[in-house]
């Protein structure tokens, strides 16, 4: 656990799940877990109250899980998975956020994407942008 020397240059072929990517990995893991547990409880105990909202909640959890796995696996395939998940996430938080504001009856119970993720400190809105920025910055060069 010695204090390492600092090098600013990051190798071009470094895995996307290292460096700042490892912080993203942790945050995505937290969201996969919390969104998944919440959706699981909602679907198991009161699915009939708002099926659409809870199914979207479950989808959100799966997308977070895919992004986590994509970052962890890395390589071309992992990168593609992470890129797709981050894009779906960004569209999802915008669409569900708008729907939850416009039609509150269909979204009676808070989900991770409700009101643009305000229940989670708007992190669901910012996180896909950070993810996309990270993936773009470490796009493969030929």
């Amino acid at each position: 656990m010695a204090e390492p020397t600092h090098t600013e240059a990051r190798p071009r072929d470094a895995a996307i799940g290292t460096g700042a990517g490892r912080v993203l990995l942790l945050v995505y893991g937290i969201f996969a877990l919390s969104a998944g547990a919440r959706a699981g409880v909602q679907i198991a105990t009161k699915f009939s109250e708002a099926p659409l909202a809870f199914l979207l909640s479950g989808l959100a959890a799966l997308v977070y899980l895919a992004a986590t796995v994509g970052l962890a696996v890395g390589g071309n395939r992992g990168r593609l998975v992470a890129l797709t998940s981050c894009s779906i996430e960004f569209v999802g938080v915008l669409v569900v956020g708008t729907l939850s504001v416009a039609d509150q009856a269909a979204f009676p119970d808070a989900t991770v994407w409700s009101r643009y993720g305000s229940g989670y400190g708007y992190i669901p809105l910012v996180l896909p942008l950070i993810g996309l920025w990270w993936l773009w910055r470490h796009r493969p060069r030929d």
Binding site: M1, E3, P4, H6, T18, G19, A20, R22, V23, L25, L26, V27, G29, I30, L33, A37, V41
Partner: protein, 121 residues
Amino acid sequence: MNGPLSIATIVAALVLGIWYLIRCALNRAPNNADLWAMLGLSALVAVLVVVAVVGLFIGERPSDWSTFVGYLITTIAFAPVGFYLARLEPTRWGTLILGVACLVLPVLVLRLQQIAEVTSG
């Protein structure tokens, strides 16, 4: 669940979290003291969780007790996972991992307190 132990955990996690964020801003990788501090926080959280589990057996159970147990498992695992990831990342980002882990812990403890307040009676 609402005793001084919870408050001590929340305060310790917040202070450590801010410390790690400052260290990350200064471009410092986690050093031995940082990592030991995280282990210390993990131990404090473990004591809190054990006290809460004992409370489940001898005291009133929260009405939503399966969620409560889920949060307890997440809470006890959280700081060690942060520690593990930070060990893998000996750069400023390792320090940020410790910081993020420390700032999420108070949220978990507050959620545990909220759930514990609703007892089945």
